[in-house]
């Protein structure tokens, strides 16, 4: 069930500050290109700034120090507020950085020290509404369908939302129990959403496990991929660059040791929607993917607008005019 309250709060037209996550900007620029393309097609105004830094989540994840996260978030918000009242991000990591920071500020000591440090920079901490780009796509789904030039041609897609989309229950369009908004997006774009048993499980990244305990990460990715393959999906849709990285790259290792039978392309929601809106296939950064995306691209078809005869209202008005 889509959280209507949250949906209502999302401004359809912005303007937005587009948060430049470093993993997207420096490792998956195709997601950034696709995101900007979508905003341009929809005529939505957005800003970026070189005064922005990293979100701070990797440092909190590694060193478990609240202050580095709260101070970076507080400083970034101060920068972003100069441009817009709402933040957009296509990364679950950046998304949860802001909400985690607000959560950590409940600790009085953390809050006091954060204010003290930000005070030295002439700033203070005040949260801002941060919206996941996937939520924005859902908000503008009607416009996207109207402007679409391609369709998914029935392609069977499995959605992996990613754990950190769900951590904060009041934020976001769906809860972990039975999320459905991305499936709805797939359906409206002409695809067939596929359900699978391991849907609400981690991709394997595990915040630190992909680098610290690799075998554990691979084992979890394997469960996920096999569950998706068993359900008969032909492609995986993600909303986070880290999930994309892990689900895509780990497949090579898993195939080498024959733990999965075949490869399955992994696509970020921005890449999918940009293609549907007419972006060139070589302008969404598939160079950075390890699994061949051709089986996915082959299924994207031109959208044929079928003529179903004049509707009676149109006939009536043209007669009147004629």
């Amino acid at each position: 069930m889509v959280n209507e309250k949250w949906l209502e709060k999302i401004p359809a037209d912005g303007p937005f500050y587009l948060f430049q996550g470093c993993f997207i900007n420096h490792n998956y620029p195709g997601i950034e290109a696709a995101t900007r393309f979508i905003l341009d097609v929809l005529g939505t105004k957005y800003f970026v700034s070189e005064d922005q830094s990293c979100c701070g989540l990797p440092e909190f994840g590694a060193l478990a120090t609240p202050l580095i996260l709260t101070c970076l978030v507080g400083r970034n918000i101060d920068v972003m507020r100069r441009y817009a009242s709402y933040v957009l991000t296509p990364c679950n990591g950046c998304y949860s950085a802001f909400h985690t920071s607000t959560f950590l500020m409940k600790d009085h000591d953390v809050a006091a020290k954060t204010e003290e440090i930000l005070g030295k920079l002439g700033k203070n901490y005040s949260p801002m509404m941060v919206i996941h780009f996937a939520d924005f796509i859902y908000k503008r789904l009607e416009d996207i369908v109207v402007k679409s030039v391609k369709v998914l041609g029935g392609l069977r897609m499995a959605v992996h939302y990613g754990c950190h989309y769900f951590v904060f229950e009041e934020e976001g369009l769906d809860s972990r129990e039975n999320p459905s908004f991305a499936e709805e997006i797939i359906r409206r774009l002409g695809g067939t959403p596929v359900n699978y048993t391991a849907k609400d499980e981690c991709c394997g990244f595990g915040m630190i496990q992909q680098v610290v305990h690799k075998n554990m990460a691979y084992a979890i990715t394997e469960e996920k991929i096999n569950s998706i393959l068993d359900a008969g999906a032909e492609a995986i849709l993600v909303i986070c660059p880290y999930c994309l990285n892990v689900l895509d790259r780990n497949q090579k290792v898993l195939r080498d040791i024959e733990l999965i039978e075949k490869a399955i392309p992994v696509i970020h929601i921005s890449q999918l929607v940009a293609l549907i809106l007419g972006a060139d296939t070589d302008k969404v950064g598939f160079e950075t993917h390890s699994v061949d995306v051709k089986p996915f691209l082959d299924r994207i078809e031109e959208r044929k607008v079928e003529f179903k005869g004049w509707s009676s209202a149109e006939v009536a008005s043209s007669q009147k005019g004629g």
Binding site: C22, N25, H26, N27, P29, G30, E32, A33, E50, D51, S53, C54, P58, E59, F60, G61, A62, L63, A64, T65, P66, L67, I68, C71, L72, R75, V79, L104, K106, D107, H108, D109, K113, E116, I117, K120, L121, C163, F166, V167, R176, D200, E201, C202, F205, G206, M207, I208, Q209, V211, V212, H213, N215, M216, A219, I220, E223, K283, G285, T288
Partner: protein, 199 residues
């Protein structure tokens, strides 16, 4: 609070549970030992990790045993447990708290030295992931390829954080003690004790 925890309250030898509450965490002694979290947990499926064992040792006051163990480094921070827990115990935050306490007692250095590169990047460039991280086997060509790819995609050059912002960030790194900690980890001076593989 359940009965067993009440009985054991007097044995808590550390301030951990109060600390947990300060972080706004649902107090872990609300745990009903129902096991719903273990059934869902990816760490439990792939290692010896069992949150109920950890919480039991916390309650019994076996602090050194918990903090010196590899167990607390297995969590995926995926919050699957929290979504299944009838008491909504926020286990991953609690585990983060334990990791922090372990570091403060000198444990976890080997793991932190694997993870510290993002922090070093942040201190030097204001971002955690660099174009050169795209291929750590060959960072120079990775950097070149990323710059070219952005150009091909019609994007502005790679994100650089302005000098004005770096100046502010340096104040944050100093005041939070972050720069000192990262240097300590990199030089091997902190934390320095190995963790125990047995639990």
């Amino acid at each position: 609070m359940n009965k067993v925890s009440v009985l054991l309250t007097s044995k808590w030898s550390w301030k951990l549970l109060e600390e947990a509450e300060r972080w706004g965490i649902q107090r872990p002694e609300e745990c009903l030992s129902c096991g719903a979290c273990v059934g869902a947990c990816p760490a439990a499926r792939t290692s010896s990790y069992n949150f109920r064992k950890i919480i039991r040792d916390v309650i019994l006051g076996n602090e050194e045993k918990v903090l010196s163990s590899r167990e607390i480094w297995y969590c995926f921070y995926c919050f699957y447990c929290t979504s299944k827990c009838p008491s909504r115990v926020e286990i991953p935050y609690f585990i983060m708290r334990l990791r922090r306490m372990a570091m403060e007692r000198g444990y976890g250095g080997d793991i932190l030295r694997i993870l510290v590169y993002t922090s070093s990047n942040l201190i030097e460039h204001g971002v955690s992931v660099l174009p050169s991280d795209y291929d750590r086997m060959n960072p120079i060509s990775a950097e070149e390829n990323m710059v070219k790819l952005r150009e091909k995609l019609g994007l502005p050059p790679v994100m650089r954080v302005s000098e004005k912002a770096m100046e502010e960030l340096r104040t944050i790194f100093e005041e939070t003690g972050f720069r000192k900690e990262v240097e300590g980890i990199r030089s091997g001076k902190w934390p320095f004790k190995g963790i125990s593989e047995k639990y």
